[in-house]
C-alpha cells in the first residue's frame, strides 16, 4: 500500500544489497519461483525465506507484480521470485500470464508451489498445472498451524506418495519447517532428488486428440520436457505458445535463462482503451 508494485522492487534491491554481495561472488545463484493461489501466505513464505518485508495482505490479488529476493543456504545463493498469486495458469489474465511465462520461459531451477493446508483440494489444481509444465516442483503446504486449529489432519507422507513430488508442511508465520523447505529446494536444484510428478491422465474423450498432437510436437521440438502441456495449450488455441514454437523460442529454451518479455498482443487498434478487444497489458 505504501507504494505501487514498482517501488517495491527498488526497495528490495536496496534491502538485499547488503547480505548477498559477499556470498554470491564465488557460487552461482539458483533461481527459485514461488507460485501459489492468493491467500495462501505465499508472500509470508517469501518474506520468511528472504528476510524481506514484502507487504502481505489477506485478500486476493495482493501481489500484482513480481518481487525478487535472495537467501543463502549451504553456501549457495538462491534468488527467489515471488510470482503473482493465481488460481490457475490457464485463464490468460495478466497476472496468470506473468506467472505462467516465468515458470515456462524463465526456467527456474525449482518451482515452489505454496498451498493452503485448509483448502488443499482447490490449491492442488494449480499444483497440477505447474507439474505439467515442469517436474522440478516442491509443494509447500503452508498454514499448517491454521489447519491444526481448524481440526484438519493431513497425512503428508501419503500426499507426497500420491503426487510424486517433495511435500513440505510449513507454518511460515512462525518460521516453522523453513529449513526443511530449503533442503527440499536444494535437493531438487542439485538433482539429488528427481521428482516424478503424478499428473492426472488426460480425460478419455481427449486422449485421441492428445495422442495425435504429441508426435507432431515431437517432430518440431524433439525432447521438449513439457510436451503434453504444450499439446494442451495448442489444442486450446494458446497463441503465445504457438508463437513461441514458430519463433523457436520454446525449442531453444535450454539455452535461455531469462524470460524474454512476453508480447501478448500487438498494440490496440483504437485509442479507446475501454472495452478494447485486444487491450492487454504488457507484463511489468
Amino acid at each position: 500500500m505504501s507504494c505501487s508494485g514498482n517501488c517495491n522492487c527498488s526497495h528490495n534491491n536496496y534491502l538485499t544489497g547488503g547480505n548477498t554481495v559477499g556470498l554470491s561472488i564465488g557460487g552461482h545463484s539458483r533461481t527459485i519461483a514461488l507460485a501459489g493461489n492468493p491467500n495462501t501466505g505465499k508472500s509470508t513464505v517469501f518474506n520468511a525465506l528472504t528476510g524481506l518485508r514484502q507487504h502481505t495482505g489477506n485478500w486476493p490479488g495482493k501481489t500484482v507484480t513480481r518481487a525478487e529476493g535472495h537467501y543463502n543456504f549451504n553456501n549457495f545463493s538462491y534468488k527467489l521470485i515471488d510470482l503473482p498469486g493465481t488460481y490457475s495458469l490457464l485463464s490468460a489474465s495478466v497476472d496468470e500470464e506473468i506467472a505462467r511465462d516465468y515458470i515456462l520461459f524463465g526456467q527456474p531451477d525449482c518451482t515452489v508451489v505454496v498451498v493452503d493446508a485448509t483448502a488443499l483440494q482447490r490449491n492442488l489444481n494449480l499444483a497440477f498445472q505447474v507439474m505439467e509444465i515442469t517436474p522440478k516442483v516442491v509443494l509447500c503446504v503452508n498454514l499448517i498451524d491454521e489447519a491444526a486449529r481448524k481440526g484438519f489432519d493431513i497425512d503428508f507422507q501419503a500426499l507426497e506418495d500420491k503426487l510424486g513430488i517433495p511435500v513440505v508442511p510449513t507454518a511460515a508465520r512462525r518460521k516453522q519447517n523453513l529449513d526443511l523447505l530449503q533442503e527440499a529446494i536444494e535437493a531438487v536444484c542439485t538433482g539429488k532428488l528427481k521428482p516424478k510428478p503424478n499428473i492426472p491422465a488426460p480425460p478419455p474423450d481427449l486422449k485421441e486428440a492428445i495422442d495425435q498432437t504429441l508426435p507432431l510436437i515431437e517432430s518440431i521440438a524433439p525432447g521438449l520436457p513439457s510436451a503434453r502441456w504444450v499439446a494442451y495449450r495448442l489444442i486450446e488455441g494458446d497463441t503465445r505458445i504457438r508463437r513461441a514454437l514458430e519463433t523457436g523460442e520454446l525449442q531453444q529454451l535450454a539455452g535461455i535463462k531469462l524470460p524474454s518479455s512476453p508480447k501478448p498482443t500487438p498494440p490496440s487498434p483504437t485509442p479507446d482503451a475501454a472495452q478494447n478487444p485486444t487491450d492487454k497489458k504488457q507484463s511489468a
Partner: protein
Amino acid sequence: MSNTIQTMILVAIALLLCIAIYLLIRREKARKSYAQLEDALKYLVTAAFDQQLVTPDTLAGALHLSRTAALQLIDRLQSQSLVTFEQNNLILTTLGRQRGLKLLRAHRLIERYLHDEANMPLDRIHAVAERREHNLTDQQISDLDAHLGYPQSDPHGDPIPTPQGQIPNTPRFLLKDWPLNWPASIIHIEDEPADSFQRITKQGLLPSSLITILHASESTLTIQHQDQTIELPKTLASSIHVHAADNQAIQQESYMTLAELPDNHQARVINIHEQCQGLSRRRLLDLGVTPGATIVTELASPGRSARAYRIRGTLIALRKDQASQIAIQPIPA
C-alpha cells in the same frame, strides 16, 4: 499594456481551438467515408450469403444514404475494383468479397468480445462493433479469435466467418414457420432494426433460449419460455431463427440453478450453461465449479445481490446472474 497581452492570449487560444476543431472534423470525415466503404462491402457479403440481389437503391436503403451518395460510393467501390455491375445488380469481386468477409468476421468477433468480456448489453454491441470493426489487422483479428476461444457464432447467433472466408451454414427456420408444441432453440435474433431486437430481448428471449409455441393466431404467437408465456407479434417472430432443440438442451432446462438454491443448502454441480462463455466460464472452472463438485450456500450479502458459496473448501462470492448460469442438483439435508 496588460490588456493587450490578455487580448492576444485570448485570441491565440481561440485560434488554437478553431484549428483543433477543424482537424478533428477532417479526421472524422475521412474515417466516416472509409467506414462507409467497408460497410457497403459487409452488406454485400451478407446479402450474397442470403442470396439476395443488391441494386444501388437497396444499397442506399441499407446504408441510409441518399441515391446520389450511394452512387458516389459505388463509383469509389468500382474504382478500387471491389465490385462490378451485372445488369443492374452489384456483384462483389474476389477482392471485395475478401475484404467484406474480413470485416464481417471482425464485426462478429468484436460483438462476441463485447458481450462475453466487456459485459455490454446485447442491444448495444452491434453499434459499438460497427465503430470498432475498421482498421483491425489480420493478426489482431486472429488473436481476438484465439482469445475468445474460437467462437462459432456472434451473440445474436450469426455464424462467424472462418479465417479462410467460409461461413458455416447451419439449417435454421423462421420462428413464424415453426410447428406448434415442438421445442425449439433460438439460434439467431436479427439485430436490425434495433428496436425490434430490444423488444424481443426484453421478453427474456435470447440466442439458445428454449421455447415452445403454444398457440398461433393471425397476428401473434403465444410462446412458452421457462415458466412464463409470452405474446409475441408475428412481425417480431420473423426476426427470430430457431432449430429443433436437442435433448441436452431440454434436459438442461429442467435443472435448478445455483441462484435458486435456498440459503444453507447443499447441491451437486451439473454443469455451467453454454451461454456462460469466455473469461467468466474459465474463472468458474478455475475455482473448482466442475461437474460433480459439491457446493453449499453460506452467506448472503446485503441487498442479496451476491451470495458466498462454500466450494472445495473455500468461500467464493458470486453475483446472482452468475449463479443462475450454474445448473445444480440439490442434495437433501
